[in-house]
């Protein structure tokens, strides 16, 4: 077992310090209280500021606990905020792929559609925002199951011992099949559904990440299987590339640096 990580210990100490007393302290005060070099304390504070756990008053330069810390128990990223931050890239993805785009988050064992861009052919389509989709039969749901521990736990509870709901004969049926499939999703970094939610329908999705790589949602395209897949029945590599690029662009805007 590796030992404790020093910078995390120090970050925790800074948060405790800020949670006491007046709750507003300057850099020097913080550094002195914890016996840290100013540069070290500053580096930690900046990181805490980036993730929203600490805020700095513009006028006085003093630090205090951030709003994100106070709302730690509620959703990490407001779904309307997620839509607003992703809207440009969702549009661009629809324009590039020629398919409808959806962004989903996890809600009580289902995929909640938080954003929907029509397929760009000007045909009659209706907005799906607010709709719930099955997790195990959609690319977006599979991404959430693969990367969002809470989504996976909710799904486990829902299917305790019974089978997963079947929409077509290709829908994933057993827990075993499911864990094999999720391992593949994690290995590749994207998911697909081909004739699983409905015959003739397919989709591709990739994770949207926030600070520190936390998965906050999934973004994907969906449409007719013959358009999404090549002759071998696999999702077309160019489409997979567009989806992953778009999800990465949103992630970058949300502050995920490494993906």
């Amino acid at each position: 077992m590796p030992g404790p990580v020093q910078s995390i210990e120090r970050a925790a100490a800074i948060l405790r310090l800020l949670a006491q007393g007046s709750g507003r302290l300057g850099l020097t005060e913080i550094a002195n209280s914890l016996g840290l070099a100013r540069g070290t304390a500053h580096g930690i504070l900046r990181t805490l500021q980036l993730v929203g756990f600490v805020e700095q008053d513009e006028a006085t330069g003093k630090y205090q606990l951030g709003a994100a810390l106070l709302h730690l128990g509620t959703s990490y990223l407001d779904v309307n905020e997620l839509r607003s931050r992703a809207i440009n890239w969702a549009d661009a993805l629809a324009a590039r792929s020629g398919e409808a785009v959806r962004i989903g988050t996890h809600l009580q064992g289902k995929v909640l559609v938080v954003h929907h861009v029509f397929r760009p052919d000007d045909s009659l389509q209706t907005l799906d925002v607010g709709m719930l989709l099955p997790m195990h039969a959609t690319a977006i749901g599979k991404v959430l199951l693969a990367y969002d521990a809470n989504a996976a736990a909710a799904q486990q509870d829902a299917v305790q011992d019974g089978e997963l709901e079947q929409f077509t004969r290709r829908t994933v049926r057993t827990r075993r099949e499911m864990s094999r499939m999720l391992a593949t999703v994690r290995e590749h970094g994207w998911a697909s559904d081909v004739d699983e939610a409905g015959m003739g329908e397919a989709g591709v999705a990739a994770p949207i990440r926030g600070y520190g790589g936390l998965v906050v949602g999934a973004m994907g395209i969906s449409g007719a299987t013959e358009r999404i897949c090549d002759s071998g029945g696999r999702p077309r590599p160019d489409l997979v590339g567009y989806v992953r690029d778009a999800a990465r662009a949103v992630s970058r805007d949300l502050g995920a640096s490494r993906w």
Binding site: V79, N80, E81, S84, N88, D91, V117, F118
Partner: protein, 503 residues
């Protein structure tokens, strides 16, 4: 190297954005930075023009870096900007001589009152198509020249320059004190109260009326034409378009034909209807303005319904009241309740613009009871945008003699589904958002790309327009009428608040 992209700069009221588009009008990279809003006194709204320039210095190169390209791959850059906001700067040092006075600022209300009582005040609307109001630049420039000792003399000698944001940015991009080009475009110039709407040039009568020296004004150019080459930030890139943001959105929505209209929802909301190559006067409180001018072709005009405060009310909720921490949270909060609980907010922060034009109005919240929660207030915030839209659409329908059958929308607030549904409900027509929500930027890019031959013609651009979302009306007609009636009664309570200056 082939020039594969066009860049847009959207210098908006809340933020500045740089976007790269490819030939199909698809977004390739986007960078954005908010700037500070300064409210030094009630009714005053200021920006720091230097902060805005610095933001551009940062996000321009960043947009290129995100796409992994250099400036040589950019065919041209087009600028769209918040309109009317006034910058005065020193030609020699490049330093602004006053804070930039934002279009929402009402410091000139007494001055405007005095000017409008002059017997020759009728020349203003006759020559520039606009009512005399604090909203436009000329009264602001006059106020600033009166306010600062020696400024008028320096302006007369051409030492102090006037510009709206596009002029300021183009001057800086092309070298600033070192050979910067001092230009504006017809759409921006049409918002000063100083340009003759038919000649498309500074009108000596209007300059005389406001007492503004010709020497400080930029040269008026078409909206789509190369003005110069950037020497900083995007070295070597041609600057080939400038339009007011609302006109840029009209262009980006490809409303190239007479009768086509759009509404852009940002800080304020602006409904523009293309009226073709003739200016049309409104009898229902709309403005006559220039829509765009491509090269040496005739200018295309528009009727405009301007609403001062829509997103700015959300911003107020966020920044001044601290009830939400991001703008989109207004929707989350509003969805915690089913209706407005009887509460209405009339956000007459800068008086009321179209169709009322009542500068003495101020904001009110009516219908407060102990029952009202933050959620109801959040609903009222969003509904204010819906009802204000209804008022300008009613005016537009009355002026045009035919009713709008769908509303094309764009801008930052269109990511708000609850709001878009409400607008469809109160207008009783479908609301449609195009595939590029950043339509302002797309319009500036289109105009720049056309100027340099990156795109051949307007009709080709129309093929890039696709429907990204549509909201269909679903409100009970009786409820719509009752609510509209409540809204109108709320508006009455906002009027006549500021007392005329004594004497």
């Amino acid at each position: 190297m082939t020039q594969r992209y066009v860049m847009s700069i959207d210098q908006g009221t809340t933020s500045t954005r740089c976007i790269l588009f490819d030939q199909r009008g698809r977004l390739v990279s986007v960078t954005q930075r908010e700037h500070k809003q300064h409210f030094p006194r009630p009714g005053w709204v200021e920006h720091d023009a230097v902060e805005i320039w610095r933001n551009l210095e940062r996000i321009g190169p960043e947009a290129l870096a995100h796409a992994g390209i250099g400036p040589s791959e950019v065919a041209a850059v087009g600028i769209a900007n918040q309109r009317e906001t006034t910058v005065l700067w020193d030609r020699r040092t490049g330093v602004p001589v006053t804070p930039a006075v934002v279009w929402q600022d009402t410091r000139t209300d007494t001055l405007v009152d005095e000017l409008s009582r002059r017997p020759d005040a009728h020349v203003v609307r006759e020559r520039c198509g606009l009512p005399l109001a604090t909203y436009f630049s000329a009264p602001t420039v006059r106020w600033l020249l009166d306010d600062t000792d020696g400024l008028r003399e320096r302006a007369e000698r051409g030492e102090v320059l006037f510009g709206t944001m596009e002029s300021w940015l183009i001057w800086n991009l092309t070298g600033g004190p070192d050979g910067g080009v001092h230009v504006t475009d017809v759409t921006n110039a049409s918002r000063t109260l100083l340009m003759n709407l038919r000649d498309l040039d500074w009108d000596p009568v209007l300059l005389g009326f406001f007492g503004i020296p010709r020497a400080m004004l930029p040269e008026i150019r078409p909206s789509s034409e190369t003005y110069g080459v950037a020497r900083r930030v995007l070295p070597g890139v041609r600057i080939s378009a400038a339009l007011g943001d609302q006109q840029a959105a009209l262009f980006g929505q490809t409303c190239f034909h007479r009768g086509e209209a759009k509404c852009t929802y940002g800080t304020g909301a602006f409904l523009l209807l293309n009226t073709g190559t003739e200016p049309v006067a409104s009898t229902h409180g709309l403005l006559t303005t220039v829509g765009y001018q491509i090269g040496d072709q005739p200018a295309v005009y528009a009727l405009e319904g301007s609403i001062a405060i829509t997103g700015a009310l959300v911003q107020w909720f966020r920044d001044r009241l601290g009830i939400i921490s991001t703008a989109p949270e207004i929707e989350t909060l509003a969805r915690t309740v089913d209706d407005n609980g009887g509460c209405y907010i009339v956000p007459a922060f800068s008086g009321l613009f179209a169709p009322h034009w009542r500068s003495e109005a101020r904001g009110v919240i009516v219908g407060l009871t102990s029952y009202i929660t933050k959620g109801h207030l959040a609903r009222a915030v969003l509904e204010a945008t819906g009802w204000q839209t209804r008022e300008v659409v009613d005016a537009m329908n009355a002026d045009a003699g035919i009713a709008l059958t769908t509303l094309k929308v764009d801008g930052g607030m269109t990511s708000d589904n609850l709001l878009m549904q409400f607008i469809a409900d109160v207008l009783d027509v479908p609301v449609v958002r195009p595939m590029v929500a950043e339509t302002v930027s797309l319009g500036a890019a289109y105009a720049a790309g056309l100027a340099v031959g990156y795109w051949p013609d307007l009709e080709g651009l129309r093929r890039n327009w696709h429907r990204a979302a549509q909201w269909t009306p679903a409100m009970d007609p009786k409820r719509r009428e009752d609510e509209y009636d409540n809204w109108r009664r709320a508006v009455e309570r906002a009027l006549d608040w500021i007392k005329p200056a004594a004497g």
